[in-house]
Each structure stands twice: as structure tokens, then as C-alpha cells.
């Protein structure tokens, strides 16, 4: 049993259902909202200050947080549906050393989540390149800033998908996993920011730091915290799945 075979199998699992296309559709909807904002949006004073400088454009176009939230839901559904449809049985019959099967699933979801994040980032940049001239603004981002935005979107997508996979494997049903992922990635972070003295560890803060559009911990510390968001649920899920009966 080699890793590459298990990862290939997991990638085929992901590719042979509609799930990636559904999430690509969600990404297109988010990108459309950004394009609409560029074309029709304005600040309170009636100007388009939110796209007038390179910094403003970088903030608008940074896709990392969206990528992490979207990929988190994607990973949660991808992992939990193995239990919904009982395909986890064949998964663990082919690979009875369950940690191998789960690590392969994490790798495949990291790659797919990363691709979805990257796709979101690229489409957002392309939408800006098309829409900004239509409202008489130039695209002001440097190549370096664009690369940083795209790299962060890919990384955040990958991390989000692994986080979601851990949650999905723990909860073991799609509805519950989506609920848990929404709580963890969308509802809890703003509450933490509002009610805690120091909430620099929430995903949006560290992703914005890595994207170069926010303040908080150092980039290195942000990368470590972001990795923790994936690694902790993934390891907890590995522990429990290894011990649990597949009934």
C-alpha cells in the first residue's frame, strides 16, 4: 500500500462527484459580488475610495479568508459524507491502517482546497483586471502583491479543507459537520474578536497578515497559527477515528 495510490484514490473520490463544481460555483458567486462592488459600489461619500489605492485594492482582492471558509465547508462535507454514504467501510477495508487512509484524505483535500482557493484568487484578480478599467481605475497591485494574494488563497484553501476534514471525520454526518465548520470558521471568530482582549489567532486575522492586508502577529507566527488550525482538528480526528468502531 503506497501513499501515492491512496492519495490518487482520494483525489478520484473528490473528482467523481459534483462537490468541487458546486464549490466552484460558490467561488464564482463570490467573485461576481466583488466585480459588482467594483462596478457599482461606492463609499459613504459617494466616491470609489475603496479601490483608489494599491492598498485598498489589495484588501478588496485578498481571497484568503473566503478561501479558508469555503474550503472548510468543502472539507467537512467531503469527509463526513464518507460516513453518510457508508463508503468509509470500503475505505477502511482497503486500508485497514486507518491513519494511512485519513492522512491520504487530508493530503488530497489540502491539494483540492488549495486549488479551489487559488481558483478563487485568480478569478478575483481577473475580475478586477476586467472591471477596474470599466470604472476608470487602473489595476495598481504589483506582481509581488498578486503572487502573495494568490499564494495565501491557495494555502488558506488547503488549510481550511484539512480543518473541515478533521471536523467531518469527528462529527460523521454532513449536516452536523457543516454546522460545526460554520460555527468554527464563520460565527465564532467575530465573537472572539469582539469579546476577547487578544484574538489575533482567529483565521481571518492570520490570513490577512499572510496576504499583506492586515495587522497582527508576524507572518511567521501567522503561518504557524494557520497551520495549527488544520493540524489540531486533523490530529484529534485521527485519534478518535483510529479508536472508534465502524458500525
Amino acid at each position: 500500500m503506497t501513499w501515492s495510490l491512496l492519495v490518487r484514490s482520494e483525489l478520484r473520490k473528490i473528482a467523481t462527484t459534483k462537490l468541487p463544481m458546486v464549490f466552484l460555483g460558490i467561488i464564482v458567486a463570490i467573485v461576481s459580488a466583488t466585480a459588482t462592488a467594483i462596478l457599482a459600489g461606492h463609499d459613504a461619500d459617494g466616491t470609489k475610495g475603496f479601490i483608489s489605492s494599491a492598498t485598498d485594492q489589495q484588501s478588496l482582492l485578498a481571497f484568503g479568508t473566503n478561501a479558508m471558509m469555503g474550503a472548510g465547508l468543502f472539507g467537512a462535507i467531503a469527509a463526513a459524507r464518507e460516513y453518510d454514504h457508508r463508503t468509509v467501510i470500503s475505505m477502511f477495508l482497503v486500508s485497514p491502517r486507518r491513519h494511512q487512509a485519513m492522512l491520504a484524505q487530508y493530503v488530497a483535500l489540502f491539494l483540492t482546497g488549495g486549488l479551489l482557493g487559488l481558483a478563487g484568487g485568480v478569478l478575483t484578480i481577473v475580475a478586477a483586471l476586467i472591471c477596474l478599467p470599466m470604472v476608470d481605475f487602473d489595476f495598481l497591485l504589483s506582481a509581488g502583491a498578486v503572487i502573495r494574494i494568490l499564494a495565501t488563497a491557495a494555502l488558506a484553501g488547503g488549510v481550511g479543507a484539512v480543518l473541515g476534514a478533521g471536523v467531518g471525520a469527528l462529527v460523521r454526518n454532513s449536516a452536523g459537520a457543516v454546522t460545526a465548520a460554520v460555527l468554527l470558521l464563520i460565527i465564532a471568530p467575530p465573537l472572539a474578536v469582539q469579546f476577547l482582549n487578544n484574538a489575533d489567532w482567529v483565521p481571518s486575522t492570520v490570513v490577512n497578515v499572510i496576504s499583506g492586508v492586515g495587522e497582527g502577529p508576524s507572518v511567521a507566527a501567522s503561518l504557524a497559527i494557520l497551520a495549527g488550525w488544520a493540524v489540531v482538528p486533523a490530529i484529534v480526528a485521527l485519534f478518535f477515528v483510529h479508536r472508534r468502531d465502524v458500525t
Binding site: M1, L5, S9, R12, T16, T87, I89, V94, S95
Partner: protein
């Protein structure tokens, strides 16, 4: 030789004992039927054998090794545990491709299997649109993916039409004849009577009966005797090793002796016979006796359907 051995297996869920100190052996080169009422612990036992469920006590070995210790388990054991364990939005072919990829099995094998289970035409359709019988055939293809010498099948005949049942029976018998180990549970008792060489019967997680189906059926057959000299003939037959169950003053049932032997001994003893009739029990009747399933509606339904509910 790929013997399956479960030794002193016990499994409890929330205080309820599902499998209770169960020790069974499944021999290679034979089809072994695994019977028990609903909730008897058959599926849990099979899952313990395949490492999906951990026993609280005991050991389950396949050819002397635990399932999880096999490097390429699908090349050693093929299994059907649930007939509906497929993503409904995925095609049958893709389901097989996923498992073939994971097990390192060449994709050419999939075409052969689709042909074998007669799903070539439906291979690219979504499994959600399959009938129960088609899903069962896909499950059989999954079990045969690695061409394993051991098959562990939980209710593989569910949803198959009579032709499908016959096809499955022939397939399993052929594989057993070539030395494979076939361990199969089923509610279809009449089918099991045709299929199995050996039987293991459990109830409430405990072993009730085990042996070859021929031995079990022979041991359960009896001869009905009616004579005006019942007491005298009973004494003669008991001396010859017969086991007697008295029905009334003139009639009784005899086990362990054939009708011809009983007739000969009655003649020798000068005892007049009014009836001498061999009675054979079906597997269904034996199953009801062994498991104490005496609920009239249940029994009636089983007799009509030839199956457990």
C-alpha cells in the same frame, strides 16, 4: 489454507452484549453459512473479523493473521458488509476505480468484473439510480476486485432476482471448489440450504449450532411410528440407539435410526406396525427450533417467504 478463526470473541455496546464469547472456525474450500435472527450479532462478528470493530475480548484471525496486518488486504479478503455503501452521485465504474487505485489493482480488472456481474451497460450510470440488485452486484464486484481467496459476505443475495441468486450460488460454489474460503450470512434459508456446505448458527451473540449442513439435517430427521405395541417397540429401538419422543399412546418419533431399520427390528420382534414414515426437517424448521423463533406471525411469514424477516 485460509482458515478464519474467531476465538472467545465478546463485544458489548453500552452494556448490551452483542457477541458473547463466540468461538467459530470457517474452513477453506467450503461455503460456510452464517445464520441467526435479526440482531443475533452476525454483522458485528463479520466486522470484528475484518477489523472494523474491536472486540472487548478474544481474537479474530484470517489465515493466522489479523486483517489489519495484511499489506494488501483486498488481495486476501473480499467483503460485502452493507448493500448500500456507495455514494449515490458516483458511477459504478468510478466506485471500482477508486478502490482499484487505493489497492493498486490494474484498471483492466474492472472491465472484467463489470462483465462478470453484468453491469457493463450501467457502469457509467450513477449508483443512486441502481436497483437493489444492481447495487448488490456492484458490491460483489468490489469484493472480487483483488481476486481474493477469502470472501466474507453479509447478505449478498438481498435484492437479487432468481437468476441472480443462481448466478451467485454458482459463483460461490465454484470459488469454494477451487479452495477459496466463503463465509456468507443470509436470511434466505432455503437458498442457504442449497448453497452452504457448513453452517454456523448464532443467537444473541452465542453459538447455537455448527456442523456440516448434511450432518445437521440428518441429525434432525426423524421417523414417525404408530403401533398398538408402542412400549415394546420403544424398548427395542432404544436398545438399538434410537432417541424416542412419545406423541401419544400409539405413536412416537424416532431419531438416529432409519425407517428401514425400525421396520426390520419391529418385524424381528413380531410387533405390528400401523405407520412408518420418514420425516425430514427443512433448514427453516431447524432454524426455528434452534433459535426458538416461535412467534406465530414470524414463523408463518418465514414459511411463506422461505426467509427470515
Amino acid at each position: 489454507m485460509h482458515k478464519l478463526e474467531l476465538t472467545n470473541i465478546t463485544k458489548r455496546y453500552r452494556g448490551a452484549t452483542v457477541v458473547d464469547n463466540l468461538s467459530i472456525t470457517v474452513q477453506s474450500g467450503r461455503v460456510t453459512g452464517f445464520l441467526g435472527p435479526n440482531g443475533a450479532g452476525k454483522s458485528t462478528t463479520m466486522k470484528i473479523l475484518l477489523g472494523l470493530v474491536s472486540p472487548d475480548k478474544g481474537e479474530a484471525l484470517i489465515g493466522g493473521r489479523r486483517y489489519r496486518d495484511f499489506d494488501k488486504p483486498t488481495r486476501m479478503v473480499g467483503a460485502i458488509l452493507e448493500s448500500d455503501a456507495f455514494h449515490p452521485g458516483r458511477s459504478g465504474r468510478n466506485h471500482l476505480l477508486i478502490l482499484a487505485d487505493a489497492a493498486g489493482i490494474l484498471h483492466e480488472r474492472i472491465e472484467d468484473l463489470l462483465r462478470l456481474v453484468e453491469l457493463e451497460d450501467a457502469a457509467d450510470r450513477k449508483v443512486g439510480g441502481y436497483s437493489l440488485g444492481m447495487r448488490q452486484r456492484l458490491g460483489i464486484a468490489v469484493a472480487l476486485l483483488g481476486d481474493p481467496p477469502i470472501l466474507v459476505l453479509d447478505e449478498p443475495g438481498n435484492g437479487l432476482d432468481p437468476a441472480g441468486m443462481r448466478w451467485l450460488r454458482d459463483l460461490l460454489k465454484t470459488r469454494a471448489a477451487s479452495g477459496n474460503t466463503i463465509f456468507v450470512s443470509s436470511h434466505l434459508l432455503a437458498e442457504m440450504e442449497h448453497l452452504a456446505d457448513d453452517l454456523i448458527v448464532i443467537q444473541k451473540g452465542r453459538l447455537v449450532r455448527t456442523g456440516t449442513i448434511a450432518e445437521l439435517l440428518t441429525a434432525a430427521s426423524s421417523v414417525s411410528v404408530r403401533t398398538p405395541s408402542a412400549a415394546g417397540l420403544i424398548a427395542v429401538l432404544e436398545a438399538a440407539g434410537g432417541v424416542i419422543k412419545v406423541q401419544d399412546e400409539e405413536s412416537f418419533l424416532v431419531r438416529n435410526l432409519l425407517a428401514a431399520e425400525i421396520g426390520a427390528r419391529a418385524l424381528s420382534a413380531g410387533i405390528e406396525l400401523h405407520e412408518l414414515a420418514a420425516k425430514s426437517s427443512s433448514l427453516e424448521e431447524l432454524f426455528l427450533t434452534w433459535t426458538g423463533s416461535t412467534h406465530p406471525q414470524l414463523s408463518e411469514h418465514m414459511i411463506k417467504e422461505g426467509a427470515m424477516v
